[in-house]
């Protein structure tokens, strides 16, 4: 059970949050090809390492925010930090 850094509330227990999945690229404009759309829709980042993802502080302040979380160690850092 992690603690997650809510930008408004600070570190809170994971049970207050809902995971909203890995960050998607910007929604494609309507002129992209079907396969480009399908890729955007169905193919996520799935790294063994840091994944940039969204969390919703559903039982807290209601903020959606972005973090980088390591999918093996659960280490968390802010998206601007370098995961290299």
């Amino acid at each position: 059970m992690l603690t997650l850094p809510c930008p408004f509330c600070g570190q809170r227990d994971e049970t207050e949050f809902l995971n909203a999945g890995p960050t998607k690229p910007a929604r494609p404009s309507s002129d992209v090809t079907d396969s480009e759309w399908i890729n955007w829709l169905t193919v996520p980042e799935n790294p063994v390492g840091y994944v940039e993802e969204k969390w919703w502080h559903a039982k807290g302040c209601g903020k959606f925010f972005t973090i980088k979380r390591h999918t093996v160690t659960h280490q968390i850092m802010m998206p601007e930090e370098d995961s290299a």
């Binding site: 059970m1 603690t3 759309w37 399908i38 829709l41 903020k63 959606f64 659960h74």
Partner: protein
């Protein structure tokens, strides 16, 4: 008067003034307050008290704590429970216990017949047989034989469990010398501290050590430290509490077995600390020789504990077998206690044996091994083997064994820390920590008490300063020096004969031969050996045996143990009651339940309540004086069609949406246009997910420019809210839109039916509710029956409907008033079953029925709701892509099933010719229509719209039902009534 033949005249910390009666395997015994079940049994000379898992060999007590591999008992009566190590059961008056896994008794166990077949039961034997005629023939008897204790039943009185959080700075696991010291330093530096120890009393190994601290018995120092800790309000000290799980971010799971609050039976702590100090000590391991499982063979440290803690020496004639220096302190104790010692067998060469032997006046067999133990149901003698292979038989009835010490790295390893093999200890020690923790004392591989304490001080001080505490100067107490710990690994003794049973895992009956066999058959990694032989998979999780398994795999494959590695250390450290994990939490925390102000009224009225979406409790139907469900539904439906009905629509999701970009946002969400919606009017809309599946439908009213009131289906309100917030906060950050959930701010009573307007008039309403002034899909503010209300003219029934929304504080009164005023009009409350009938007659959608995660609006015949202009609406693109495949779609149709008045099961498949082949559609809903006086149904059918008039076949298992395909609307197709 207590008769304890193996209890010393004096000594021990038991309360000799309070005798405790207990029962074991049906016989009555007595011990003293402060005894464990194990110490009391030994004091009484009950040495044979278990049978082994597979061969049902006689077994006794080997350990003194959680490491106990052998003597498992089942508690009876009030504290019924199974598979407790006798060494961890506190003796209390009236305690009733029995051995697990043997019948009728350990001394006469019928299953011991297995021993005769022992040869036929090597590791993995079951994979090789029991195949003919099939496993089923054998399974039941095998299952009965396995399984140790009986499961707890529901007959014991309710016990209240609790879970709670703890947030602090330092959490210390283990209240031995290092743990107590760590807690003391931390608390003095102003930190909030928790210290957890799984023994009933603090002190750890100090309790059975001759060490003096500041010239006083070590235990007095421990007690003084505890007194200081207890006086500090920032310190939580838990005894008889197990830290069993180490989770992310320094979260430890702790089960406290005897909380101070009497209404709590057990408490689960979720303790999170900035820093964790693991002072979990070390666990002594066994040595591998023939019959090392005989009653009378015990761990040296255990014998020492029984002597110091309980004044018990479980034998008259002791022998010691060791490969290290630690066991000698036991020799000193026994000598002091006047027990006759037949000798010490030490596998180390005499030049390796140091100060530990000074002052001992007993035979020392240096560079010898103990080849075998002998005896039937108890140890009688041992065979000692000299370096030259010559053997000698020596009588004894107690054999104290020490194979060295394994640091208790379980929690460290659960915290993903890496382990390193230490040659000097011949064991695995903590290497790289992966969380904010430190190991101290024996847990860190520091086996010498004095140097361990010094190390603890510096380690803990360093941690505290790193965590920005100011540890005050601390002067260590002075310890009397002890001889250094020295060991030479001995993975198994030499000279064993084929068929000798030398156990590496006592509890699961895994022998040295089993490991050899596994490796011969290709199971040569430690995980394979574990899984093939089941070594280390018992309740004790191999605490005394695992390192011996690894050592022997290494020896057999000529590798170093660190090349073999360990198996994963999994939580829990020791078994814990599920109750202490759930605590007070019950179904309601996983599935919270929700009530409206009318819920109780419905129950009082005798409604059959259903679990509706989003965890609301809603009335399904209102039985009429004991009548059946269909009668009730018909009456309610007729009331709505020909008179008036009312239902509690409060659970419908409601959102207040406003802001500069509110209109644009509504347009993004819904597939149809809202731009031209007039103020005071509402419009039905459908929302899609990005996958192009229907997410929700509902009516949205325009209250003012850029101000809307959106209503959603009951079940999906939360999903829709999340969907909207996601879009706003992530994709439309620059937009100004504010969403406030107001579901619970408004309760609504929906009056529907031809007489609805009359009832509303009769209630007294401050506005003109005529059709022209207040048309279909309009919303008005008004005073109804003296109460401010919002009235909406929406209809889920196909009849004229007035949705009267009031503040919940007025809801009960309003509802009662409606029932009272409506009575002359024959008003009836309407449940969800009837709403279902009415919407099916109209062909209105229902999520979860017609919409089953595959249908899109075109399939449902709602082309009109897919705006030509709004290609950017969420989900639109995916719908277009899916339909471009040209694959035939299942379309919404009406069905007239030809059954003699019997309903068709909802979900029944429609198949070509009614054959048992892949379906071509299904019945989404089927009801008795009060207006059509017949069974009607809705369904999704491949190319359905083109097949209207056709007869299709519904296949409900053996039942084959013809049905005529119709338009999906059975009543008032033009919708004149609901607009009337």
């Amino acid at each position: 008067m207590t008769h304890n033949p193996f209890r010393q005249k004096a000594g021990g910390r038991i309360d000799r003034n309070s005798c405790v009666e207990f029962e074991f395997n049906g016989k009555r015994y007595s011990g003293y307050k402060g005894d464990t079940l194990a110490s009391a049994l030994l004091a009484n000379g009950v040495f044979l008290n278990a049978r082994s898992f597979k061969y049902h060999r006689p077994r006794g007590i080997m350990g003194a704590g959680v490491e106990e591999p052998s003597c498992l008992v089942e508690l009876l009566g009030a504290d019924a429970g199974g598979n407790y190590a006798a060494t961890t059961v506190q003796l209390r008056p009236g305690l009733k216990a029995k051995s697990v896994n043997c019948w009728p008794s350990p001394s006469f166990d019928l299953m011991s017949i297995n021993q005769l077949f022992a040869r036929l039961l090597p590791a993995g034997f079951y994979y090789k047989t029991f195949m003919w005629p099939n496993w089923h023939l054998f399974e039941p008897s095998i299952r009965r034989a396995a399984g140790l204790a009986a499961a707890p039943d529901d007959q014991i009185p309710y016990q209240h469990f609790e879970t709670r959080y703890w947030h602090g700075d330092v959490l210390v696991v283990g209240a031995g010398s290092s743990g107590l010291l760590a807690a003391l330093i931390a608390s003095r530096s102003g930190a909030r501290v928790m210290i957890v120890d799984d023994h009933p009393l603090p002190g750890g190994c100090l309790r059975s050590s001759q060490t003096k601290i500041d010239e006083r018995p070590a235990i007095e120092w421990a007690e003084a430290v505890c007194a200081e800790l207890d006086a500090n309000p920032e310190v939580t000290r838990l005894q008889d509490a197990t830290a069993w799980g180490y989770r992310e971010d320094n979260l430890l799971m702790v089960t406290e077995r005897s909380p101070a609050e009497t209404h709590v039976f057990q408490r689960g702590w979720k303790a999170r600390a900035g820093r964790v100090i693991l002072a979990t000590g070390a666990i002594e391991r066994n040595l591998v020789f023939a019959n090392n499982d005989l009653p009378g063979v015990m761990l040296a440290s255990a014998v020492q504990t029984y002597y110091h803690e309980f004044g018990v020496i479980p034998g008259r004639h002791a022998m010691i077998f060791t490969n290290n220096s630690s066991a000698y302190s036991l020799a000193h104790d026994l000598q002091a206690g006047g027990t006759m010692i037949a000798g010490i067998v030490d596998s180390r060469p005499s030049n390796a044996i140091g100060a530990e032997k000074d002052g001992l006046d007993i035979p020392l067999y240096a560079a010898n091994q103990l080849q075998a133990a002998h005896g039937g149901k108890h140890l009688r003698a041992v065979t000692i083997r000299a370096a030259d292979g010559s053997t000698k038989r020596v009588d004894c009835d107690l054999l104290a064994v020490s194979g060295g010490w394994n640091p208790a790295v379980h929690l460290f390893s659960q915290a993903r820390g890496t382990l390193a093999y230490d040659d000097a200890l011949a064991s695995f020690v903590p290497d790289k920590a992966m969380q904010r923790l430190a190991c101290v004392g024996a847990a860190a591989g520091k086996m010498n008490l004095v140097s361990a304490i010094a190390d603890t001080l510096s380690t803990v001080t360093a941690c505290l300063s790193e965590d920005n505490f100011k540890p005050s100067a601390f002067s260590l107490p002075s310890f009397t020096a002890l001889p250094d710990y020295h060991l030479q690994p001995l993975w198994h003794v030499d000279g064993m004969k084929p068929g000798d049973k030398a156990f590496v895992d006592i509890q699961n009956d895994v022998t040295l031969d089993d490991i050899g066999l596994a490796m011969r058959e290709g199971f040569d990694t430690v995980e394979h050996v574990k899984r093939y032989t089941t070594a280390g998979m018992g309740i004790d999780q191999g605490k005394t045996g695992n390192v011996n398994v690894i050592g022997n795999i290494a020896k057999a494959s000529n590798k170093k143990p660190d090349e073999i590695g360990t198996t994963t250390f999994r939580s829990p450290f020791t078994p814990v009651d599920f109750g202490s994990i759930a605590g007070q939490r019950n179904g309601a925390t996983v599935l919270p339940f929700r009530h409206t102000p009318i819920t109780q009224w419905n129950k009082d009225r005798g409604a059959v309540m259903y679990e509706a979406g989003a965890r609301w409790q809603r009335p399904g139907y209102f039985p009429i004086n004991g009548g059946n469900m269909q009668d009730a539904i018909n009456a309610e439906a007729e009331a709505v069609r020909y008179g008036v009905g009312v239902y509690d629509g409060s659970p419908l999701g409601k959102f207040d949406i406003s802001g500069r970009d509110a209109a644009a946002f509504i347009d993004l969400l819904y597939t149809n246009d809202f731009a031209d919606l007039e103020i005071g009017m509402g419009r039905y809309g459908i929302m899609l997910s990005d996958d192009g599946m229907i997410l929700d439908d509902g009516v949205t009213f325009k209250l003012a420019e850029n101000h809307y009131l959106m209503s959603t289906s009951t079940g999906f309100a939360d999903v829709v809210f999340r969907h909207m917030e996601y879009l706003l906060q992530i994709e439309c950050e620059s937009w100004q839109v504010w969403i406030t959930p107001v579901t619970s701010q408004w309760c609504n009573a929906t009056i529907c039916g031809p007489k609805a307007r009359d009832v509303l008039e009769a209630l007294g309403v401050s506005i003109d509710i005529g059709n022209d002034a207040f048309p279909f899909m309009a919303m008005r503010e008004a005073i109804v029956a003296g109460t401010p209300a919002r009235i909406c003219r929406v209809s889920f029934t196909g009849e004229v409907s007035f949705e009267i929304n009031v503040w919940p504080r007025h809801a009960k009164a309003m509802w009662r008033r409606i029932m009272e005023i409506g009575a002359p009009f024959g008003i009836l409350p309407v449940g969800s079953e009837t709403s279902h009938v009415l919407r099916v007659e109209k062909g209105f959608l229902s999520l979860g029925h017609e919409v089953d995660e595959t249908a899109d609006p075109y399939d449902l015949g709602m082309d009109w709701i897919m705006s030509r202009t709004k290609t950017h609406a969420i989900g639109r693109r995916s719908v277009d892509i899916r339909r471009s495949s040209g694959k035939p779609r299942r379309e919404l149709v009406g069905l007239m099933p030809k059954t003699g008045g019997e309903l068709v099961a909802e979900g029944a498949p429609i198949t070509p010719n009614g054959d048992r082949v892949a379906s071509e559609g299904f019945v989404s809903a089927c009801v008795w229509s009060v207006v059509n006086k017949q069974i009607i149904a809705l369904g999704l059918l491949t190319d359905g719209r083109a097949r209207i008039g056709e007869t299709i076949i519904i296949r409900d298992r053996e039942r084959v039902i013809d049905a005529v395909v119709t338009k999906p609307c059975f009543y008032d197709p033009k919708g004149e009534r609901l607009r009337g």
